[in-house]
């Protein structure tokens, strides 16, 4: 059932990617930076919020007037800031939703990734009250609706005797202290927990991507700025507790659940929210495909170079004091609780070279279930099977391109992650006559399942990162599937044929 959902979801994402790929190169595709984009939107919210707070008055009568002043009299700055504050908050919900869905459908929440997945749930629980308290502060008709409905929801928690919602039934009962409380929650309380929550969320990741590419930041900011200028955020009428607003312009990003409070009951809404959260939390422990063994260090071949530590996207490898009495000071050590068996450490290891002539191919660090020796054997077995010019493709095991390549009859070696493949394997395939060209399919659009597979591969091939591709290898003999010009061919078979044509020339 879950696997079926994964497949269906992946289909939707691939469908979305296709038109997106026309506009963006892999690295610039916003779908590859959803978490970082969320953080960027929160920065916009923070900066615009500081400006709004300077002019905001935390009182029943002052709140609405101060927001109206910002919106209409100081429209050129305060109005724009207010709209940016609103739209960036909404945009953050879009990216959060897509981020969660993407991690789910690409199966990036199980096994060792449970911590990052589970720590995302409190973030969602914090971001919604943050937005909701923001609407409350405007104290217009929408705020009145939000205040009463939120209070009804809180009243359902069986710890209060007096009804909180009762305080919002007449203007005389309403106290300025509510605004002080809301302002505290919105400006200090929730943001502090949110920042801590984000830190915890990326805590286990090595080099977490907190910022999207600059061009993307500029473009999304510009888009929100234009939206703010063309369609500024406006208040409803001033709140009047003697009346009930009849029609509201609801912000569906934050308030989608509120109509359910009236349609069902606060109790059922709590049940729904708790049930959804519980399902999300237990997902990592639902039955899944067999977990592979973590990477294994063989001290006889480990020289303590630290490249595996630098390249591991999950901080699963660390250097510890040498234990075998050799002259090296350090050795690599794998934390099996953090290792996701992507093999990127193997691709980084200088001893993972298929050219080794003495003894069997045992690198300093290797995957027991998909070893470097097995990769070499696959290249030797597949190479030369094709008609000239002979091409060997490498595809990631979790990407549908592997299946597509097999279906098209392309000689393909599967790797756990493209960065598991050290450049020496490409050199090996070409120089030992197993192939005339090497096609790296990787993950669709370079959207690596293990975060940095595409980046590290590109940098190693460009000789910017160790282990580098040897100079004797002609770049024209390597096609990187997720980069231009090969990415423009959408089907794997077309990419393969285009590459073969280029090799003939």
């Amino acid at each position: 059932m879950i696997e079926r959902l994964h497949r269906a979801g992946r289909g939707v994402f691939q469908g979305l990617r296709r038109p997106m790929a026309r506009a963006f190169d892999g690295a610039e595709n916003p779908l590859n930076h959803l978490g970082a984009l969320t953080v960027f939107f929160l920065w916009i919210v923070l900066v615009s919020g500081i400006w709004l707070f300077i002019f905001f008055r935390t009182s029943v009568s002052g709140a609405f007037d101060s927001v109206e002043y910002l919106t209409h009299e100081q429209w050129y700055l305060g109005g724009i800031m207010r709209s940016l504050h609103r739209y960036a908050s909404d945009a953050a919900i879009v990216t959060i939703l897509l981020h969660v869905l993407k991690e789910f459908v690409f199966n990036r929440y199980r096994g060792k990734r449970w911590f990052t997945w589970v720590t995302g749930v409190p973030l969602i629980w914090m971001i919604f009250p943050l937005g909701i308290t923001g609407y409350w502060l405007v104290w217009d008709e929408l705020a009145q609706y939000v205040a009463i409905s939120s209070a009804e929801l809180i009243d359902r928690i069986p710890i209060f005797t007096d009804s909180m919602a009762g305080n919002f039934q007449s203007d005389e009962l309403l106290s300025n202290r509510f605004f002080t409380l809301m302002a505290f929650l919105h400006l200090i309380g929730l943001p502090i927990f949110l920042v801590f929550g984000i830190w915890l969320h990326v805590f286990r990741l090595n080099s977490p991507r907190i910022n999207p590419p600059r061009r993307m930041m500029a473009a999304t900011f510009l888009a929100l700025l234009v939206l703010s200028a063309v369609y500024p955020a406006l208040s409803h009428e001033r709140a009047d507790l003697a009346a009930t607003p009849q029609v509201l312009r609801l912000d569906w990003f934050y308030l989608h659940v509120y109509p359910l409070i009236q349609a069902w009951s606060p109790g059922w809404v709590w049940a729904l929210l708790v049930a959804i959260s519980a399902v999300i939390i237990v997902l990592p422990w639902t039955p899944a495909q067999k977990q592979e063994q973590p990477a294994k260090v063989t001290l006889d071949y480990c020289n303590g170079c630290e490249r595996c530590v630098d390249d591991c996207p999950f901080g699963a490898v660390e250097m510890v004091a040498r234990t075998d009495g050799t002259s090296y000071t350090h050795q690599a050590s794998v934390d099996p609780d953090l290792c996701v068996s992507c093999g990127i450490c193997v691709g980084a290891c200088p001893t993972a070279t298929p050219f080794r002539s003495q003894g069997s191919l045992i690198p300093g660090i290797d995957l027991p279930d998909r070893s470097a020796a097995a990769l070499r054997a696959d290249i030797e077995a597949l190479g030369g099977r094709d008609a000239e010019p002979r091409v060997v493709a490498f595809a990631c095991r979790d990407d549908r391109q592997l299946h597509e390549a097999h279906k098209a009859g392309i000689p393909t070696v599967s790797v756990n992650c493209m960065a598991q493949l050290s450049p020496s394997f490409i050199d090996f395939a070409l120089s030992r006559g197993h192939a005339d060209g090497v096609l790296l399919l990787g993950c669709q659009d370079g959207n690596c399942c293990y975060r940095f597979g595409a980046n590290w591969t590109e940098q190693r091939l460009a000789r910017q990162r160790d282990p580098m591709l040897r100079k004797r290898v002609e770049p024209t003999k390597i096609a990187v599937g997720w980069l231009s010009p090969w990415a423009e061919h959408k089907r794997v078979a077309d990419r393969y044929e285009a590459f073969r044509r280029s090799l003939r020339q």
Partner: protein, 163 residues
């Protein structure tokens, strides 16, 4: 071509954000409807009278616990009824809160009614009596569309307030 695609993608994103932040509109209350809100907390009478302890009973108690009277904590449930003419808008018996049933009973009810004139009656029984109300109030009120009429019970004056 790529730039045009990029601009189109970001414009579409901004459009979705702008659109769903205000649309579709949500109708909270029909055009010709109003609300009557019944909102208050009230503690019912105690179930039993206080009983003076005899000297013999007091002697049996530790010195720091010798109170002259033994008062039962439990309170009666509170029965509330709200009518518009002969139509009952709300009728419920509310249990006292707390594990010893000695706290206040609370009502929070927002009742949608047609706008226009209403002969409202609100009554409350807090002493366990079968039929009659200990407190009540009747009033004819014209509710304009969208009006939120609030009915509360003032503990100081022991009267219903209609705002």
């Amino acid at each position: 071509m790529k730039l045009a695609g990029e601009i189109a993608a970001y414009a579409a994103f901004a459009a979705v954000v702008g659109l769903l932040s205000v649309w579709p509109r949500y109708e909270l209350l029909g055009e010709d409807r109003a609300l009557v809100s019944l909102v208050f907390s009230h503690a019912g009478e105690r179930v039993g009278e206080c009983r003076r302890l005899s000297q013999e009973e007091l002697n049996k108690l530790p010195p720091n616990m010798r109170k002259p009277a033994d008062c039962p904590r439990e309170r009666y449930p509170v029965r509330i009824e709200l009518r518009s003419g002969s139509e009952a808008l709300y009728r419920k018996t509310l249990a006292p809160s707390g594990i010893w049933a000695d706290g206040k009973a609370s009502v929070y009810e927002r009742i949608e009614v047609p706008a226009g004139a209403h002969d409202l009656f609100v009554g409350m029984n807090d002493s366990g009596g079968a039929e009659e109300f200990d407190f009540s109030r009747s009033e004819t009120i014209d509710l304009f569309p969208g009006r939120n009429l609030v009915i509360q019970f003032d503990e100081q004056t022991q009267q219903f307030l209609i705002r």
